[in-house]
């Protein structure tokens, strides 16, 4: 389950930010969106939109980030996102 979500996140990051980013930075659970991938905030929004489209309304991404500080959001990792999506589906 985790693996499938991780693959999906990787594929969508490639669509949004370009495949060359994936070559430079293999996506792992510990990969940070900001420090490692250097995604722009608008690219992170695009990722959230694509995940919503893929997994449906059950993924309350905005509810999830609404209680986080900006520092917490900046520190998010791929693993944080994968575990959040998994929790919405179970």
């Amino acid at each position: 389950m985790n693996e499938e979500i991780l693959k999906t996140v990787e594929q969508l990051i490639g669509e949004i930010a370009g495949e060359e980013l994936l070559l430079a930075h293999p996506i792992e659970m510990t990969t940070s969106f900001n420090a490692d991938l250097e995604l722009e905030s608008i690219e992170f929004v695009a990722l959230a939109e694509k995940l919503q489209q893929r997994y449906g309304e059950r993924i309350d991404f905005v509810g999830w980030i609404s209680n986080k500080s900006l520092d917490d959001i900046i520190a998010l990792t791929v693993g944080d996102l994968v575990r959040f999506i998994e929790s919405c589906r179970s």
Binding site: E40, S41, V45, E49, K50, L70
Partner: protein, 248 residues
């Protein structure tokens, strides 16, 4: 990604939550709809249908070389809200000026209005914008601290941000449009019927504009929050709470 055609361009639009409609417009240059998405929009989305969009030339919307004046950008807003009868309107900086222009021209469309850090007169914005500095390093120095730190360590983000700034500052009519924008007339401001919240930063150079708007807009209240021009970054929780209370 939700892309909506309006005024001959493709705009990136996203919606959060459900309830009475609120439309939020971000500021120029370093702003995108992410400015609201990661700050005040999630709190408002608990009780509202919040519509965010990337202004022309910004984020994932089309990047035309012209049309950065308030009349055209207010028309963009009108086209992107044509399906809504009436909505509350929130704007930051130049986005707040777009909101003011729209509220003056279309009073029947706007319920409540929230103006965050609108600079007056509008042309002053261009003169004070250190982001129009001549070198990339000077542009970086002029960013708000949180963003500057994020960019300092990241070549990819810095490169993309600078490319966007260079396009807007040097290849589009944005700077000329800003400089050519006349001031709002007192008699126009006096026509605004919407209950209006004015939010300004304690350390912002725009504060005088807040005082003027508080005097001229009939049903306005002014709140000073602890922070500078980028209030949504400096005071995320305070601005969220103030907007939630105003739009409740």
């Amino acid at each position: 990604m939700p892309i909506v055609g309006a005024n001959g361009l493709a705009f990136h639009v996203t919606e959060l939550g459900a309830g009475p409609a609120v439309v939020m417009a971000h500021g120029l240059l370093i702003g995108t709809l992410a400015s609201w998405y990661f700050t005040a929009a999630p709190a408002l989305a608990r009780a509202h249908r919040v519509r965010l969009y990337d202004l022309r030339g910004h984020g994932l919307s089309d990047k035309p070389k012209t049309g950065y004046d308030l009349a055209t950008m207010s028309a963009d807003l009108g086209a992107l809200t044509a399906d809504l009868d009436r909505f509350d309107l929130v704007g930051h900086s130049w986005g707040a000026l777009v909101a003011l222009r729209f509220a003056i021209d279309h009073p029947e469309r706007v319920g409540r209005l929230a103006i965050v850090e609108a600079p007056l007169p509008p042309s002053r914005f261009a003169d004070e914008q250190k982001l129009f500095a001549s070198t990339p390093d000077e542009m970086i120095d002029a960013l708000p601290p949180a963003l500057r730190d994020a960019v300092a360590g990241g070549r990819r983000q810095a490169g993309k941000l600078l490319a966007s700034l260079k396009f807007l500052a040097y290849e589009s009519s944005l700077l000329a449009d800003l400089r050519a924008t006349g001031d709002f007339l007192d008699e126009d401001l006096a026509k605004i019927r919407a209950k209006t919240l004015l939010l300004y930063g304690s350390r912002s150079s725009c504060r005088g504009a807040g005082d003027r708007l508080a005097t001229m807009i009939p049903d306005a209240s002014l709140q000073i929050l602890d922070g500078g021009h980028y209030l949504h970054l400096d005071a995320k929780d305070a601005i969220s709470a103030a907007l939630e209370a105003h739009l409740a």
